[in-house]
Every structure is written in C-alpha cells, then in structure tokens.
C-alpha cells in the first residue's frame, strides 16, 4: 500500500484530518531542506509536499516565486531534490512525500528516468501543476506502474464533467484549489469550499484536501471541518523569506506555525 493511502486510512481510524505543509526545496539553501522536513513532521505534518523550484512558476504568487528564485540561485535542481528525499528516508520511512512543481524539469530528465528515480528514493506522489489529466497519457501510467500517486488539482471553475475525469485519473488525494488566483492570495471562504466539495464527495472516495488561502490555526480548523486535509504553503514559505539572514531560526518557526494549526485542527 502506498504511504499516502496508508496515512489517510490511519487518520480516518483516528478521526483526524491531514495536515499537509508545503515548502520549496532548496529555500533558502539546499542544506536546510531535510532538517525542515523533519521539523515539520515533529510539529504534526501528516504528508509533506516538497516544491520543485522552477524559473517560471505561473500558478504561484510572489511568495513562492521568490522562494523558487532563492532556491535556484543556490543551484537547487530536481536531481538534488531526489537526493534530499533519499536522505530524509534514512531517518523517516513513514511520512509520505509528494513532489509538487511544473512539468519542464521533469521533461528534461525524461518521464521514465524521473519515475524510476522518484520511486527508488521513496517519493510517494507527484503533483505537476501544469499537467492536467488530458496531457498525462504518457506520464500517468509510468507513475502508476511504480506505485507513485498522480495527484491532480480541482478548481472552483472546474466543470462537473471535468471533475469526473479528474476523479477517475487521480490517486492519493484530490487537491482542491480553494480560490481563483495564485498561491498566497486572499483568505478562503470555508462555506464556499464546503459547497464545492459536496459534489466531489459523490464522485470519488479519494480524500479531499484543500489548499490556497490557509494562513493560520483558525482557517486551518475551519477547513478541516469540511475537508479531509489542509494544505499550507505560503504561510510557511513567508517565514522562510523573513529569516533568510538567520536560517538557523527557521526550523523552529516552521514548527510553531504548523503546531498552531495542528492544535486548532485537533481541538
């Protein structure tokens, strides 16, 4: 059983919701990333989304754009990310890891080579922001064959018919983008989210996780009431951005942001 499915079935038994932090790998420099990942797990992360830095992150707001710039300036490449996952797995063999990013770095390595390496270092899922299911004919089956979950996005603008297609192709969990816009944009509306999740529940048994616009314990707890998981990115990456001059303090800050959300969600 894939670690992601395993994790969601454990959470279901415990009656808890998944807390899924996102950080951009290599931000502020590659040597910190694995330490940040362990810190996030200590603070209550159930799954980690590890961002693959890209020069042209079209779906991201300024916070994650700048994180990509910092990581790229430090020379972080997709192959380095895979090494980070391998290093993380020497200590933590249970926390699922999802790589999230854009297609071009994967295209350059080659779909099959990437899938082989990702599976061998212990990656559990892949979310390619600019690859909807219609364009995943070739890549999707390569992931499936290696028990890597192909995770897709659903947006407020997604039609019923498209949502059905996405549910049919999706694995691991569905990433519901809570608002129209880029990452780090305005705060979400939990009632609105609940309204959009209801029809998805009828289409799929996949866990429904919500991202975009979750900033603190309050929003995390609101979303956790209606969703199976809460994804938090810009709120964490903001902390990294504010402390690039004092990187030794970042792990502690990430822990406190995430722990607040964990506490609020479990209350």
């Amino acid at each position: 059983m894939n670690r992601i499915d395993q994790r969601f079935s454990e959470l279901k038994e415990q009656g808890r919701k998944a807390l899924i932090p996102y950080i951009t790998a290599g931000d502020p420099a590659p040597q910190y990333t694995v330490g940040f990942m362990h810190a996030l797990v200590e603070a209550g992360a159930d799954i980690i989304e590890l961002g693959v830095p890209f020069s042209d992150p079209m779906a991201d707001g300024p916070v994650i754009q700048k994180a990509c710039e910092r990581a790229l300036k430090q020379g972080t490449r997709l192959v380095d990310l895979l090494d980070m996952v391998a290093e993380f797995r020497q200590v933590d063999t249970e926390t699922p890891i999802v790589l999230m990013g854009y297609l071009n770095p994967i295209e350059r390595i080659g779909y099959e080579t990437f899938a082989d390496k990702a599976a061998s270092v212990g990656v559990d899922g892949v979310l390619v922001v600019d690859m909807p299911p219609e364009e995943a004919d070739e890549f999707g089956p390569l992931l499936k064959a290696r028990d890597l979950a192909a995770i897709f996005l659903v947006a407020p603008t997604t039609s019923h018919a498209r949502a059905a297609t996405i549910c049919a192709h999706g694995e691991g969990y569905l990433y519901y983008v809570s608002l129209k816009g880029v990452t780090g944009a305005a705060t979400l509306n939990a009632d609105d989210v609940a309204e959009h999740l209801a029809p998805l529940r009828e289409m799929t048994n996949l866990p429904l996780c919500v991202g975009f616009g979750i900033r603190d314990g309050v929003t995390a707890a609101e979303v956790a009431k209606v969703a199976d998981g809460v994804i938090v990115g810009s709120a964490l990456v903001n902390r990294i951005a504010e402390s690039v001059e004092a990187p030794e303090t970042i792990a502690g800050q990430l822990k406190s942001v995430l722990a607040e959300m964990r506490t609020a969600m479990d209350a």
Partner: protein, 410 residues
C-alpha cells in the same frame, strides 16, 4: 481510401492542430486547472464563430475599414538590384493601423471578447506592438485594458509604453525573472487565473495553451492569403521563397500558412541570433536545436538548461526576446517544411539601415531579422526569381534603440 488529387507532400499540415490542440508532439494545453474552464469556453466560442459568415464578415469589415487592409505587396526594386539576385517584395504589414501585423489578431480576439461579454482584456507584450494593438481595440470597444510588460522592455520601448497609456490602457511593469516577454506572459497568466470570470486574455502570438496557437494563426492568415493573391497578380506566379522573422512566430505563420501546400515555395523563418547562435546569447530555439520543453501551456522547442530551468535570452529586438516558439513552427521544423535560420544583432542593424536608406522604409528591428536573411538569400538566386518578405512592423518604436547604439541622446 482514395487520396484527392490536390493532396501534396504537406497537406497534413493544413489539418493541424488535432482536437486537443496538438501539432504532432507539440502544442497541447498544459495549464493549471483553474484555467481549463476558460480555455474550453474560448475554444467553444471560437469553433462556433470561425465558420459563421456573420462573424467572418464583421472581421473582414474591420480589417478593411479600421486596419486598412489589404496591405500592399511592394517591389523593393532598388534594394533588389543592389543585392544582385532575386527580386524582393515586401508585404507591408507596417502600413496597418498601429504599425504592425499584431492588429489582425487583436481585432479577431476583441470580437471574441465581445461575444463572451467580458468587460476587461489583458495582454502581454514584448516590443509593445501587441500591447498597442490590444490597447487600440480595447479603446474602440470600450473595454478595460491592462498590459503586462517586462520592466526591461518598458525601459527600451518607452514610446510604445506611452502610446498604450494614451490609449487608456494600464501598463504594468513586470519585475520578476528576466523582466522580459516570458515574465510578462507569466504575470498575465497569473492575472487571468485570478480574474477569469470577467477577463479575456488576448495572447499576442501563436503560442500559449490550445486554442491560442490555432486562433492567432487563423486571424493572421489574412497576410498570407493576400500575399498569395497579390503575387499571382503582380508577379504572375507564386514567389520562390517567403521570409519572415520568428519570435513566437505569429507574423511568419500568418504569411506561411496559406502557402503550406505549395511545395515549390521555400520558406525561411528567421530567429533572433543575438550576439550569435554560437555564443549561446540568443533567442533562437529552433535554429539552435534547443531541447523540447513545456512553458506557457504548450510543448515546443524551448531554451532551457539541463535541469529544465528556462534560459535567459538575448536580442536587440524586444519582440523576439522569447525562449520558446509557437508549437506549429516546431512541427514545421521537424517535417522540413520551413528552414529556420538566425540573424544576429549586427546583421539586423545593417539590414535596418540599408532598407531605410535605399527604399525609404524604416522597418521594425523584428522585421529587420527577415530582411537580414533576405540579404543573404537574394544573391544566391537569379534575377527572375522572387522573394516575399514579411515587413511585419514599422521601425518608429526602435529609433531610440538605434540612436543609443549610435551614441546619440535626445
């Protein structure tokens, strides 16, 4: 199945893209989910109107009375004679309203925007020609208009920036990444994702997610249809060669597309060689054989490093300063329909000065890339052979750039 007699070597190319927007292995719709709905809606709107005689008539009427089409096919006799080879004919897109071919497409897309009822349009621009053409149609239709432009380009194209502002558009300088055309397109896509309910994105070239490469090509194909008819009238036959510059590639596709099945007509797409393709400082993904990649919603030849990060590009011409190229060009390179070559900045400036001096026509620096290759090509051909060059835009906007190179400050 019987093959129709009119079938030629390249007939398949007239049947592109397929239903999902693929040109062979290129093109497609690589976008984040939020945009899928808007692209499906645009595709349906376009497909339903494309063959609608009323829509076509309205488009043709605007092209005639607002843009001033047809644009002339001009025989550059003096320049041809001095080069000592083939006769060079200039397709005068520089004489269009707003001074470039870009308006053909913005007129078409503005009509689509009107049909969808969206009150706001956005655009990305490099040299500013597409931004001006968008601001112009927005003014005419009373639409709100925001234009994203790389901060570097805002600096080197001040005249066009002010033109857009005079037309009532807001010009938003983009400070991220390399601060050029690709970053402007990233920012326009981010805007569109956020404001998709009330905003129509007028993409300026034959790139982007399906259906943009197709519809931008179709709106610009008027250039090639006219050039074909004018060649038959003025030359008495089809030309031997077509030459056009290629950044994203909209003016080139517009000229080439109606000739694609004319096997005897050679085609040359001229990319921005910058400091020279051999230096690595250029914007020539096709002629430098860049790897395949995915950016801005389509798969194409894309300048990127080994890790898949998109490369910086270099060109004297802001309008060609783009690391990718329209997916249809990528396919046409692979099947050998078009020869893709590059002209470097120095050659481009020479061609710019030569045409200005010898014909009294000041070309845009983008178009001067095509002229630079015509200069190479013409002497290899006979005087009874003919080359049609797409003079895609006029050079007024580039006077400051050329003056700076000459060490002149105003």
């Amino acid at each position: 199945m019987t093959v129709p007699v009119t079938e030629t070597k390249f007939s398949d190319l007239t049947r592109m893209p397929d239903a999902r927007g693929h040109f062979g292995p290129y093109g497609g719709r690589f976008v984040s989910e939020t945009l899928s709905f808007a692209l499906e809606e645009l595709e349906q709107t376009y497909l339903s109107l494309r063959d609608d005689p009323d829509f076509q008539a309205e488009f043709d009427r605007d092209l005639a009375h607002y843009v001033g089409r047809p644009s002339p096919l001009y025989h550059a006799e003096r320049w041809s004679q001095s080069l000592g080879g083939a006769q060079i004919w200039l397709k005068r897109e520089d004489l269009n309203h707003t001074g470039a071919h870009k308006v053909n497409n913005t007129i078409g897309q503005a009509l689509l925007a009107k049909k969808t009822g969206k009150p706001r349009v956005i655009a990305e621009t490099g040299a500013g020609q597409h931004g001006v053409a968008t601001a112009t149609v927005a003014a005419r239709l009373g639409l709100e208009c925001d234009v994203y432009m790389g901060a570097t380009d805002v600096q080197r194209q001040k005249l066009n920036v002010y033109r857009m502002r005079l037309l009532g558009a807001r010009v938003i300088p983009v400070e991220s990444g390399t601060r050029t055309l690709k970053d402007a397109m990233n920012e326009a896509l981010r805007d569109w994702v956020t404001n998709v309910d009330n905003t129509f994105y007028i993409i300026g070239t034959v790139a982007g997610p399906h259906p943009y490469p197709q519809l931008v090509r179709d709106f610009n194909a008027v250039v090639g249809r006219e050039a074909r008819r004018q060649s038959l009238e003025q030359i008495g036959r089809l030309p031997d060669a077509l030459v056009a510059c290629v950044g994203g590639g909209s003016n080139a596709l517009g000229l080439f597309y109606p000739f694609v099945e004319d096997d005897a007509v050679a085609m040359y797409g001229v990319e921005a060689g910058g400091d020279g393709v051999e230096t690595g400082r250029h914007a020539a993904p096709l002629s430098s054989n860049a790897p395949r990649g995915v950016l801005h919603g389509n798969r194409t030849y894309l300048m990127s490093d080994e890790g898949g990060q998109v490369s910086d590009t270099h060109s004297i011409s802001a309008g060609l300063d783009y690391p990718g190229v329209g997916p249809e060009h990528a396919l046409w390179k692979d099947v050998g329909r078009v020869n893709y070559v590059a002209a470097n900045d120095k050659e481009v400036l020479e061609a710019f000065r030569e045409l200005t001096h010898m014909e009294g026509i000041m070309p845009a620096l983008e178009s001067a890339h095509a002229l630079a290759h015509a200069k190479v090509l013409a002497p290899t051909m006979r005087p009874d052979q003919h080359i049609v060059v797409n003079l895609s835009g006029r050079g007024d906007k580039d006077i400051m750039t050329v003056a700076n190179i000459d060490g002149i400050e105003f």
